[in-house]
Amino acid sequence: MRPAGEQTPGARLVARIEEYSSRTGRTVRLMEVCGTHTMVAFRSGLRSLLPERVALISGPGCPVCVTPNGYIDAAIELSRLPAVTIATFGDLVRVPGSGSSLERERANGAIVEVVYSPTDALALARADPSRSVVFLAVGFETTVPGIAVAVRTARDEGADNFMILSALKTMPGPMRALAGGGEVAIDGFVCPGHVSVITGASVFAFLAEEFRIPCVVTGFEDLDLLKGVAMLLAQVAEGRSEVEIEYTRAVGMEGNRVAQQVMAEVFEPCDSEWRGLGTIPGSGLALRERFAAHDAAGRFGLEVRSAPPASGCRCGDVLRGVLTPPQCPLFDRACTPATPVGPCMVSSEGACAAFWRYGRRPA
């Protein structure tokens, strides 16, 4: 128990943030590039605790949100093929493609199964060899190693009816694009904690060294995020740009070597299209040739084409931090969680969904 009258850890952190903020003497813009951080920031009310001159802006950290329409269209095309089961994480089901969604296809008879793990998708393939099970591989470095293990296991078992459609992406590329693009001024990155568990914090060193942007790898409790913001402001106030780790209970500089090895064994870098950021060289992951039997695009002769976003949808601008959700003309009008136009309103970690749920002012 804390003695009566003693400040809470959160209050002490807020006081420290205010002190650093006044020392900087200017507006400081910090970008979080993890959808889970976005949700924590809104749900906890942390934004309302920050001084006016500290802005927390959301970046391209929600995998579902950055997946472009062309990928959704390809998944829908696959779902319409005979004897194909689509297995996917839940968030993707309601994302609108160019003319439909997986939810709508399921209502029309497509088999779309929501799974918790890629190994659940592999289990579906084992259970019914007469069907091709296509796992929609969407995610960042946190999710990739598990998918790599599932693919390798399927190869070892000869389960050729298990395939993936890869839209897997890695974080350094878009962070470089944002840091070097000059469109949004970023004074610090709240770096993604669980991506860093795999990659190690050192993967962000180029941001501190080349772009002189402070980076703090941050955890996901409310106090973690407050402390991460305080550490970033300390760097700004003291004129430092380093990679620091707030989330020390999970993250080191080098990451999970076993996970890195299985990723490299199964996948190779490829160019990848990001909603709002365009195609970023080397920012995607494709199956290596020896795992081609598990590549749904190759097996079905499917091309993932570029497709424009829905008319009026500004998710791309939101993902670059250029626009806040309420500045989008569709926000809370044509686009709501019940009738989402863009993925940032669908995903539980999308900035628009977070803003709609926690950030709107009472009518």
Partner: protein, 74 residues
């Protein structure tokens, strides 16, 4: 989507096992971590254990949740 939760390992059978999240059991794949044992705390994402936490890590995390944490000094 990159959400991961710390869980206590309660059963290990080769590369799979069971972990407890406040008493709810969940099958976990340990392929990405060497030498996992019953009683370990591991961080789980999409059915895979990604990292092992020390006892001090677990104590820090629980202190954050119950308001007794004092690690706020940057």
């Amino acid at each position: 989507m990159c959400l991961a939760v710390p869980c206590e390992v309660v059963e290990v059978n080769g590369r799979i096992g069971l972990a407890s999240v406040d008493g709810a059991l969940r099958e976990v794949d340990f392929s990405l971590l060497d030498g996992v044992a019953v009683g370990d705390f591991v961080l789980i994402h999409a059915g895979f254990a990604l990292e092992r936490w020390t006892e001090a890590d677990v104590v820090e995390w629980k202190a954050m949740l119950d308001g007794t944490w004092s690690g706020e000094t940057p």
